[in-house]
Amino acid sequence: MKKYSLISAAFLLAFIFPLYGAPSVIVKDYRKDLIFNNEKVVLIQKGDNPEYRELSFDDSSWEKTSLPSDWSSFYGDWKGICWYRIHVRFPSGLPEKGLGVRLGIISDADETYFNGTLIGKSGSIDSPPVSAYDKIRVYELPTALIRPGEDNVIAMRVRGLFPGESGAFSNDFRIGPYQDIFWNYISKEIFDLIFVVIYFVVGVYFGLFFLRRRQDRENLFFSLFCVMVGNYLLLRTQFKHLFNLDFYTVKKIEYMILSLLVILFIEFIMFYFKQKHRLYHKILIVLSIIPFFMILFSGSFIFWDKLNLWYIQPLWIVLAGTGIFILITRFGKNNDARLMGYTIFILLASVINDILVTRNIYQFTRMTGYGFFFFIGSIAIILDNKFVRLHSEVEDLNVNLENRVEEKTEKLLYAMEEMEAAKRETDNILLNVQEGIFLLDKNLHIGPNHSSMLELIFNKKDLSGANFIDIMKDMIQAEEITAVKDFIDLFIEGKVAEKRLMKLNPLQEIRIQIPDGFGFKEKYLRFSFNRILERGENVFLLVTVQDATEEKELEKRIKDTEQKAQREMELLFELIHINPQILKKFVKDTNNEIKRIEENLEKAQFSTDLKGLLAGLYRSVHAIKGDAGQLGLEIFSQRAHGVEETIQFLTEKKDLVAVDLISLLYSLVHLKDPLKEIESLVHRLSDYQSLARVDEFTDREILIEAIIQMVSRVAGREGKKVTIDLEGFHLPAMNDASLSLLKKIIIQIAKNSVSHGIETPNERGEKGKPETGKIAIRTENRPDGYDIIVHDDGRGIQLDAILSKAVSLGKYDEEELKKLPREKIAMMIFDSGLSTQHDVSIDSGRGVGLDIVKTEIQRIGGKISLKYSPDRYTEFRIFIPIA
């Protein structure tokens, strides 16, 4: 029994041990995908032997392990070939679909056998270096080779190149339907590809941003960063193996990208936060560039790996530190910095997580991929936000700008309208202002904008740009020009105060002559000057010219008018008490007399009898003087007296020549002036009279009025008292000329009676006569005419006085005179030049007066006679024939 038991035990051992002695992956259901990670079902052996592949090979002495597992725990840094053997048991029967196996990532190359037959290989296991160390192995298990319900062996011949990282060291290990395993593998890759595409899209997006806004360099670096990360990840996927890309080249590029990312990231941060490139940053960049070239020019994969491990990765730490430092310094001020900081922290956390996971410190999903995605996504959002923010700012600015442009345009339009209005206003002012206004520049040129009046004042055209001094030269004397120049120089110099300087203005008021017709026109101009300052500098002189001619003329007219008015007033006082009709008559007679004088002068031409001419003129002037005297026209009488004196002077002048008579013309002009004034006054007075409807006087009344006025005035002047008796004075009808003549005769005789006949009241008193003398004028009709008798009760004719005067004149011999009868001597009072009055006065005294009476009477064929009695009376009898 014991023996039996032993046999049965041995059988069991013999049967079961081989059956159960080797650990196996037990596939219970062909349809299920079985993961055998971390199951101690794997045998490992260092070294190479072709038998190791065989199903029948006894591997019981091999080390047991689980997957994933590098061989360093068994063989240290062994670099060479190791074999893995995995025993698999399938259920009975064959699978409906083909089976496959996933053997994770094997470093570096492998040849995999199933039940002794090669089912797949990756990399070049016999020609190192690296060729497939990151490839996920998925191989088909040919159904024909499957031994259902029996032991099957998957044997992997692996060449390891990296100390500590050789063999099937990571990823998933599965067995199941090939389709499921493949799709599981490929879908993970496709999932990774989606990230890659996203990175590319983000990269391109920001690349375009950069192209649109070149100044935002952070967009360029972020774009490059994204593209590089995308590239890197793309190269990291399994597609390179699927498409059989050259593994070596792909890995080289991968490492180069890794070193470049450092630069791109730091540049991005620098530009984003507008940091200046300090020496420190430059050094970082140079340090980042170095591994790039080292990888480029090195062919050693081991070197790349070391470089990555000992250079690039630490550099990344420095870089991350720098980035974080920059971010921290901006933390307080910038939301973006804060966000970026958080994402970097998260990225770092994921990286640290993965490092810890790869080192098997703990088991967790690898996070770096997600961390990166999160990082790039966040930064893209930050940048995008920034862009949106900028965009809306730009939009706001645009709107603002539009508003401001609109506002400015409106303002500009308004300003232009205002300017135009101001220009119109200025033009209107310059066109209509009554002064000449212009600007003088430093070279004394007249500015283009001057008032229109200026041309009129200067009587010149095209004044723009003309030299002021040249213009003045035509108007004022050379020596004055110098003064004007000096004055303007002082003005431009600007050292002396304007007010003080203006007191020296030589052009304050100037009189200029402007050619006009045959002569010149006189103008008075007043210039004033003002400095015009621009930025405190004296650049122009504003000159104002005023034409003061009218003002001056007005001044003169006013003065003349005042004088005239004064003369007229004086005249008026003389005229007011005279009957206007008498005055009218006087003016008419006098005008005729003056005309006669002028005609006589004109007729004389080259006459040799100048004295005769003068004597005739004298009589006319004397008659005028007499008439004026009768009416008491003092001023006029005096002027006539002046003419008389001129004639007297000329008559007495030795070597008298015709041209000497000019002085007579002057005194005549002098006489005519007041006559004109009298005439105009009389005219006005008679207007008043006609308004007052004063009855017209008869010729007799006019005559009587004239006689009375003359007598009373002469008497008043000589201190005599006289009455006139006109009882018997009756005039026949006669024409104006005869009446004028009659008046002249009667007045002359009556005047003679008052002056020479009637004594002063004292004298009369002494003689026992009444104080008041009497002059009686009467007419007596005769068959062929009438007599006018003028009788006075005065002293009679003073023969002695006549005699002595006649002697003194040298006209008569004294002895001869004494022989003449008394009547003849008495009649001498009618001779020219004989006046018994001692002083020559305007009323009498030149002995001309009675001689005119005599001449006139003789002219009309009349007669004059006189009788007298000393101290009793004188009586003139004048016979006027009727034609």
Binding site: F518, G519, E598
Partner: protein, 152 residues
């Protein structure tokens, strides 16, 4: 115009004739003319005067007077209308020149203007101011007039 100033005009013309022709010019009795009537013979040389006084001075003569004068000054010179008229201008110029010397810069004297009876109603163009003094002149039996009309 002052008498002395008028005298200057007269003297300057007398001096001119005495000096240039050797035959003195005779002056007749001067007379006054109204403003609106003027003495005008065939040829007239006018000078306009302004300044302290305004008006005109002219000398007017017939052609025979002037051609005789021309002949005396430049014997053998061909006579022409323009030369005769020029002579009237020359006379006026002489008066103007002399007068300017004496009267000084207070008087502004225009260049002489010649008028002939062919110019039409020349009196309109004469800006004589009342009172107008006319001085008859006689030289070698030819008549001329010096006319002065100035107003202060």
């Amino acid at each position: 115009m002052e008498q002395q100033q008028l005298q200057i005009f007269i003297e300057s013309i007398m001096e001119y004739f005495q000096k240039i022709t050797g035959v003195g010019i005779e002056t007749g009795v001067p007379y006054l003319k109204e403003e609106d009537s003027s003495v005008l013979l065939g040829y007239t040389g006018v000078i306009g005067i302004s300044g302290k006084m305004r008006g005109a001075v002219y000398i007017t003569a017939e052609g025979d007077f002037l051609s005789e004068l021309l002949n005396t000054i430049m014997p053998g010179m061909e006579r022409s209308e323009s030369r005769i008229a020029g002579m009237a201008g020359e006379l006026a110029n002489t008066i103007a020149g002399n007068a300017q010397k004496v009267l000084g810069k207070e008087f502004l004297i225009s260049i002489p203007i010649m008028l002939t009876s062919a110019s039409g109603d020349a009196s309109n163009k004469l800006e004589l101011k009342a009172p107008t003094f006319v001085i008859p002149l006689k030289w070698k039996n030819h008549q001329a007039f010096l006319v002065v009309g100035l107003l202060k």
